[in-house]
């Protein structure tokens, strides 16, 4: 009845949503490489622009993306502070402030222009990394499509006897049942609450005990489901990946290839932009 969104998938019809998931996996890897290639102001500006471009292209509301950045604020602040205070460079911005600690020890606060730049670059890098990966993958690709893509991409490993198909099938089934089990948990919790169960008060042990009436029926039904699914698969003669055809055949289109080439060009561009010494270049 109510569809709980698993993960972050945001249903929309955008060029990125329509893209072949394999292309998206490759793009994501390339994009991560790009973020780490960046060295100077120009590159980071280009990186930020590309992140904005991807966001607009994906039609995922900007609010949702900002919300996913929120938990990172602690990390962002921490890295910035470390960079600001710990980078040693040539352009000293502050007079040598000294904070007396104990005895004869003093802590000299010295902030260099390089430190500020590094902090800024780090923030841009992390944000771009997050936006890039979430817009290219988690927001625009269903978990099932993703495992499908990974199966295909890793299929060469079959040559060295890695059970790629089985791993992918197991992942798909696991992902498929997360929302079902979440629904089920909610239902059982409601049923026990209706009989006066109290999950919110009492100490740790009392609360853990209160969860038993939820966990037992949940496990029972999870096992039942697993047996039923196994029989259903056997009834349809499932016997692993050998000779198995698929309902949704992935088609690599011209636009997908084009997108990958575009990002490669972007990476090459960044590589050369790094040589232009404008404002500041990271060491």
């Amino acid at each position: 009845m109510k569809s709980i969104a698993f993960g972050q998938y945001y249903p929309a019809n955008s060029p990125i949503h329509r893209m072949d998931p394999r292309a998206k996996v490759i793009l994501t890897v390339l994009y991560i490489v790009c973020t780490f290639l960046c060295r100077n102001t120009l590159c980071f500006a280009a990186l930020l622009l590309s992140a904005v471009f991807l966001t607009v292209l994906s039609r995922v509301p900007i609010g949702m993306i900002l919300r996913s950045i929120r938990p990172l604020i602690v990390i962002l602040t921490f890295t910035s502070l470390i960079n600001v205070f710990m980078t040693k460079g040539e352009r000293l911005l502050t007079p040598s402030w000294e904070i007396p600690l104990w005895g004869a020890h003093v802590w000299r606060i010295r902030i260099f222009a390089e430190g500020l730049w590094n902090a800024l670059f780090m923030v841009v890098r992390i944000v771009a990394l997050l936006i890039g990966t979430s817009v290219l993958l988690s927001y625009t690709t269903t978990p099932i499509a993703l495992t499908d893509a990974l199966e295909r991409l890793f299929s060469p490993l079959k040559k060295i006897k890695v059970p790629v198909h089985d791993i992918a099938m197991m992942t798909t089934i696991a992902l498929r049942f997360i929302p079902t089990l979440m629904d089920e948990t909610q239902r059982i919790m409601n049923a026990q609450k209706a009989r006066g169960a109290d999950f919110t008060s009492g100490g740790l042990i009392k609360r853990a005990k209160a969860l038993l009436p939820v966990l037992i029926p949940l496990l029972v039904s999870a096992f039942n489901r697993a047996y039923e699914l196994a029989s259903a698969m056997e009834c349809r003669c499932y016997h692993g990946g050998e000779g198995r055809t698929r309902l949704k055949i992935l088609h690599l289109r011209v636009s997908d290839v084009f997108a990958v080439l575009l990002l490669v060009a972007f990476g090459v561009g960044i590589f050369f932009l790094n040589r232009v010494g404008i404002l500041y270049t990271m060491k």
Binding site: M1, K2, S3, I4, A5, Y10, P11, E184, R187, I188, N190, A191, Q192, K193, A194, R195, G196, A197, D198, L212, P213, I216, P217, V220, S221
Partner: protein
């Protein structure tokens, strides 16, 4: 008298996300004391959500739910100004009175699920204890009753839901589907709720099982004079066992009243796509063929009675 009263209830799932979904939209309904009220509607018409509103499992996004005239979702803050004027709080110091009101609201909130007992859809999946006895005792135990009282309650619940004594020491997981369901229903009846809410109590049971469960529910209601609410999408069962009815369609309550009143609006039921009982359809067809029987017949017993009368009258006029 109205036992439960829903006023302009609205309920929306996942507000503010792309998965936003309105389950109930401006629903106003009244449930009378000492009667069996049927709530009928299609899948997705908001029936189950409405039932979870009644015992406070979910809070309405809009509107109010009253149990005996008390808004079950009211907070102490909302009640201060009103309740401080009551005699029992008037003599207290203001801060003490506020504390007392807060405690009272808490107590009522906690006690709500014992006053309005809800049997959810497919309740057999909620069983978890080692024995049937212990499982039925779960609710009464949560109420904080004595061992003695719990025992009495378990037997009471088991009796009304048609469980024989020898089943009590069995594991609930060894029972048949129908028996499991009875255990779950007994677990709620054992709390002796003033209002018993059953969400699709007969879903997935064979015709005999359906009849038994409904008969037990009716017997329970008639002997305890409590308020019973049954959710179903089967018009036949509703017509047979309910005194009052509420019809939900597209998240709205489109009709309420006694079963006769609601079935009198058969064309409306047709419109929202609810199957009217087969016997009612049969009588309507007979009328179209020119057989003079009253239109609003919705139980087989009544139809048999009418047709017999009609036949007798026919025979009388021929001779």
């Amino acid at each position: 008298m109205d036992k439960l009263c829903l006023e302009h209830i609205g309920y929306t799932y996942s507000v503010g996300t792309p998965f936003e979904y309105t389950a109930l939209d401006d629903v106003t309904a009244h449930i009378r004391d000492d009667r069996i009220t049927g709530v009928i509607g299609h899948t997705g018409s908001g029936k189950s959500t409405m039932m979870m509103l009644l015992n406070g499992l979910v809070k309405p996004t809009k509107g109010k739910v009253y149990l005996d005239g008390y808004d079950i979702n009211s907070t102490a803050k909302e009640l201060y100004s009103d309740w401080l004027k009551r005699p029992e709080y008037q003599n207290m110091r203001k801060s003490t009175a506020k504390k007392a009101i807060k405690a009272e609201v808490q107590r009522r909130k906690r006690g709500l699920c014992f006053r309005v007992g809800l049997v959810m859809q497919y309740p057999e999946y909620q069983l978890f204890e080692e024995t049937v006895y212990k499982d039925i005792a779960y609710g009464p135990k949560n109420m904080g009753l004595s061992e003695e009282e719990i025992r009495e309650r378990v037997l009471y619940g088991a009796r009304f839901s048609g469980l024989s004594d020898d089943l009590l020491e069995k594991s609930p997981f060894d029972l048949s589907g129908g028996q499991k369901r009875r255990v779950a229903i007994a677990g709620v009846i054992a709390m002796k709720p003033e209002v018993l809410v059953l969400d699709e109590p007969a879903a997935g049971l064979d015709p005999l099982g359906r009849e038994q469960i409904f008969n037990e529910i009716r017997q329970y209601q008639r002997s305890t004079h409590s308020t019973v609410i049954i959710v179903s999408h089967s018009m036949e069962d509703m017509a047979e066992y309910c005194d009052d009815m509420i019809v939900l369609a597209h998240s709205k309550a489109i009709a309420e009243g006694t079963t006769a009143e609601v079935f009198a609006q058969i064309s409306m039921l047709d419109e929202v796509g609810l199957d009217i009982p087969q016997i009612t359809q049969l009588i309507r067809m007979l009328r179209k063929r020119g057989i003079d029987v009253p239109e609003n017949v919705y139980t087989v017993d009544r139809a048999v009675e009418l047709l017999r009368d009609h036949y007798q009258a026919l025979k009388g006029s021929q001779t």
